[in-house]
């Protein structure tokens, strides 16, 4: 597989997964939806120390990785 095609495939898969997340977020907000929203998911997951630490760490790391450490 040449380099350009590989690049296109890689980016396309990322885009598809990102689109899937966006669609799920939109679907979850429908009144009849059985899919939990991200907010419901986070609230349900909180209450355990390891989960809270992971969520804060993930948020912190995203900021560090993209703004402070050069990506």
């Amino acid at each position: 597989m040449n380099g350009h095609l590989s690049h296109v495939v890689t980016v396309s898969v990322f885009a598809a997964l990102g689109l899937a997340l966006v669609l799920m977020a939109l679907l979850a907000h429908r009144r009849s939806s059985k899919l939990p929203t991200i907010g419901q998911l986070v609230r349900a997951a909180l209450g355990r120390r390891s989960v809270q630490v992971l969520l804060v760490l993930a948020w912190w790391w995203v900021g560090w990785h993209f703004f402070a450490a050069g990506g």
Binding site: H7, L21, L46, V56, L57, W59, W60, A68, G71
Partner: protein, 202 residues
Amino acid sequence: MSEQLSRVTQPVARSAEPALWRQPAFLIIVIAGCFHLFRGAAVDGVVFLLLAVGLVVTRHRAMPVAAPPTTRANTYAVVGVVLGCALYGWVVGHWTPNTLPVQLAVAVPGLMVMPFAWRVPDVSRTLPDRAWLWAVVGVLVCLWELTSFLFQSDPAVGTYEHPTLSVVLDPLFATASLRSVLVGVWLALGIALFRLIRGRRT
């Protein structure tokens, strides 16, 4: 008043909590920490693994129950936070990336929020139905990211042929205006997470 008092004095229910090594969140922190060390991001790896050690060390320590629930933010407070985040983002976004001021601007909020992540009454929680759908997509993102990373010839250098998510998103951080927005959004998310951690109750 009596309801608040009962919340403050409610004991931590730790007996039903699985062992730390059986908690997915803990395993994720450890694995991610080791991965950061492997890819050459020593600071990231050390921070992750230190926090994992902290979780182990405090595993049997009874942390104080969190303060009484916060009230819903009024409109003025929300506007204030939004404006504050926008201002923060505008200032930090216009600083030269990857310099000490920016590193401090990111590190300090994290240091302020992280201690509160330890203060939680551990109780059993049931995830909503179909929460696994989110997990599936999340895992797929991680697996594809890992695949791209492993195909790189140098773990520390992104490649055009197999770009990681960082490489794909790099153009978003190329201009000060976009960085300003993203920093502001990042800070707002941190504040929202902080409020969720502080405000949730059984």
